[in-house]
Symmetry: C2
């Protein structure tokens, strides 16, 4: 076991986590609309548990019975037995702790209408508070290790926290009023679960919408949560209705607009693009004397990268969803010092797209047709029958790679592409599924030299030897000015016609 802060235990209000990795809540669309734990849900979370993250946050469960698509529920005692079995099974097979995320959402219709914060009566609000408290209590009764209150994204509590909440009464318009429902829900849940049961909150560090709040407000929101005795604070971003893209015949779905991109940053974003939010919030509450652990999330690909965040003091815990979907054994492999066998998320957001299209969420890297991640304890690495015969050629502003099939005693799972630019060290560039043995690199810059090699990996993540390295001097699209001819341009009329 390596000496990493990431792999050190931490105790949160009595909940002993073995390491600092949190599987954050992620839509699976594996449940039915009935709200009960089913076999697919059970399999998904047991698979995660076998990978031994410090904490598993189970996907959002409704605190109320309002109509929705597939969604787990904690809105009635009848849901407790199924959840109790799930929590018990996780505890039986894994040191992972497990908490449910509990959610209230406002009504939406396929017509495009949606209920707003301003539409709620005081009685509606009272029922939300009561429902949260009761659901939190059921989480305890069901044997979970704590409960996470969903106050992020497009849902009720987040909509009250929003800078766009202009309710004219004591629940809106000013910062203090926007925090009121959050405070009442937290206080109610604490009353119902007792002092010795962990309560976490997940909320947006930044709304990432026009006229939304920024870290200026989220620092204050987090400080209030800390003052109210919340035991961890999990920072998300965006995922709002306000910029969601309407799809004909479907209810408006958050995560489909820019704020959805910011919630789940794709390959085009820098790694750890949202860490600044946790950093700002943690720095602020620490400066006020609160040490409530802060979870950062958003494209944190490797144990080394995660460790650098913790070492820099930017967050206390590392949350990830897509990286653990791609490889539920991420933590276990890190603990063994075998991060090199992690199946790395490529942040292509196929999972996000499945969710947006109301389909069962799986990882595109998984073997075709599977709705659960594979498991393998095989330790025989794939081989190249003929060295892989990697080829690379520039074409149309891209570099096109192709290679031969690798072989494995078990099954070739995918191919990982490594790239070096101008003879700098090689980086993991991306990966493709085993059915694909080609790749077009569109992020190449003219005038630079690119070197590539490919490794095949099997279901356990064992990597083959590298193919031979191929080198491409990629031509520049525009001549550089010094000592180079300028593009030939005929000097003509400088003004196109005035027309519209």
């Amino acid at each position: 076991m390596l000496s990493m802060r990431l792999l050190e235990p931490i105790t949160i209000n009595g909940m002993e986590m073995q390491n600092r990795v949190v599987l954050t809540a992620m839509v699976t669309r594996l449940s039915g609309a009935d709200g009960f734990v089913n076999e697919n849900i059970r399999e998904r979370y047991l698979r995660f548990a076998r990978g031994e993250p410090g904490l598993i946050v189970v996907e959002a469960m409704g605190v109320h019975a309002a109509k929705s698509g597939p969604l787990l529920r904690l809105s009635d005692d009848k849901f407790i037995p199924g959840l109790r079995d799930l929590a018990k099974e996780v505890h039986d097979i894994s040191p992972s702790k497990i908490v449910p995320q509990i959610i209230h959402f406002l009504k939406i219709a396929r017509s495009g209408w949606r209920q707003r914060v301003r539409d709620l009566t005081k009685e509606d609000i009272r029922l939300i508070i009561v429902a949260y408290g009761d659901a939190a209590h059921r989480a305890r009764v069901a044997g979970f290790d704590g409960v996470e209150l969903h106050m992020a994204h497009a849902y009720t509590l987040s909509s009250f926290l929003s800078l766009r909440n202009k309710r004219p009464d004591e629940y809106g318009a000013s910062l203090e009023n926007r925090m009121r429902l959050m405070g009442e829900v937290i206080a109610r849940c604490r009353e119902k679960v007792g002092e010795d049961f962990p309560i976490g909150v997940r909320f947006d560090g930044e709304e990432c919408i026009k006229n939304g709040y920024t870290v200026e407000d989220s620092k204050e929101l987090a400080l209030r949560m800390a003052m109210l005795g919340v035991n961890y604070i999990s920072i998300s971003a965006g995922g709002k209705f306000e910029d969601a893209i309407k799809k004909e015949g479907e209810p408006l779905y958050p995560y489909t607009g820019y704020s959805g991109d910011r919630c789940m940053p794709s390959a085009t974003y820098p790694a750890g693009d949202n860490v600044y939010l946790a950093e700002g919030i943690k720095g602020y509450i620490n400066s006020k004397g609160y040490t409530t652990p802060v979870i950062t999330t958003g494209k944190i690909p490797t144990p080394d990268f995660a460790e650098s965040i913790l070492q820099a003091g930017k967050a206390d815990l590392i949350g990830m969803a897509r990286a653990l979907l791609a490889d539920p054994d991420w933590v276990k492999k890190a603990k063994k010092g075998r991060a090199d066998t992690i199946i790395r998320c490529v942040y292509g957001n196929v999972c996000k797209n499945l969710d947006e299209n109301f389909k069962t969420v799986f990882c595109t890297l998984w073997p075709r047709g599977k709705i659960q991640a594979p498991t393998s304890s095989d330790d025989v690495a794939p081989e190249w029958p003929n060295g892989g015969r990697l080829e690379a050629r520039p074409e149309a502003g891209r570099i096109l790679l192709s290679w031969d099939e690798a072989t494995d005693n078990e099954e070739i799972y995918g191919y990982e592409i490594f790239r070096s630019r101008n003879d700098e060290p090689f980086d993991h560039h991306t990966a493709v599924r085993s059915v694909t043995r080609k790749f077009a690199d569109t992020r190449v810059v003219g005038g630079d030299r690119y070197s590539y090699y490919v490794k095949a990996y099997d279901l356990a993540g064992n990597r083959s030897p590298a193919t031979q390295t191929v080198v491409v001097d990629f031509p520049i699209g525009v001549p550089l000015p010094v000592g180079e001819p300028l593009p030939e341009i005929r000097c003509g009329e400088s003004s196109p016609d005035d027309e519209e």
Copy 2:
């Protein structure tokens, strides 16, 4: 004169700037649709010049003759005389250097239709390159000190750079192809203006739209610009069509959506919210051996804050538009060591809203009815006849302030509100115009103590003495859990009816 890097000279390809402050291009809507310099334009820029920023970038001028609203033009030699007079007058009265920003834009119609990158033929593209080169040449002929190529926001060059540019030919889809037109325009302009004339580029460090590029790409774009011999790189953000909000009967206008907020961060954003873009870009090009100066912009309120950015090596130059609109003498006052007399922008974005509504852009802090900033060399500070009689009371989640009128030998210009939280040092909180003698502070947090005082200021920015300090213990909206009663909630039915 204080010893600040901000106030040190810098020479950019022979252009000797007296200090590191750049007035970045800003829409004024003072020009006519004819494209000529008129008296209002002349007054606006001479007023800026008297404040002595290192560099004045004049608002965008069309390189072509396509129809638009009010817009200066450099699309024909006939525009040269007016611009030559403007440049000469600026040079006569000020050490400020002055360059025009030159722009090409695609066609838009009130119907909502807009021309896309993919609609352009190769001949259209060739004409854009030619028009840019000719306009850059006219900038030199007109006596400007350089020229800035507009490659930011919603305009043609930016649309080619965009990650959403999927043109299937050599001008789109891959990073290298997206950079092609930029490179051809820069090379052409250099050919036309010669080696010894400064060429700057302004472009987006991040598009801030769904599927837009991030700093991962803008680092490469900036590197290419540096390699192509661009003399400064000015970093903006957002301001795109893709998320603009359509207004009935008006052409779609960028800056109206979230990306517009990111372009001109309002009071709800942290100061210097976009500095990370310049920092990332500067760090990257410097690491590749290029020292091309990088300009950062976006809510940089004070000389001290600007200086901290330079001292930290995050940028080479400080760009500002709104802060200099609020007080064109910002630099002059900093040079005198009298930053305390700067009329501070409150980032309320009234100017941004005027632009969005196609109205003449002025600063809301200016005396009512004026379309130019006032000038005064008065040095007598305002007085409070009766101490100001500042009052503050909490109400409806806010703290309401009110005070009496101040007097001045000249004219009371506005009132500046200072705030301390929990006995921390007082900060400038905001300012209001002289017709308003009240303020509602909606950003107060329950449980905290807020102290306020107010100063009146005159047209020259002389501050009155402070009013007496008033203190408010602001009540918390939700009881804290420890030793406090919980809100009374009747335990009722936990699930609202299933309905939609």
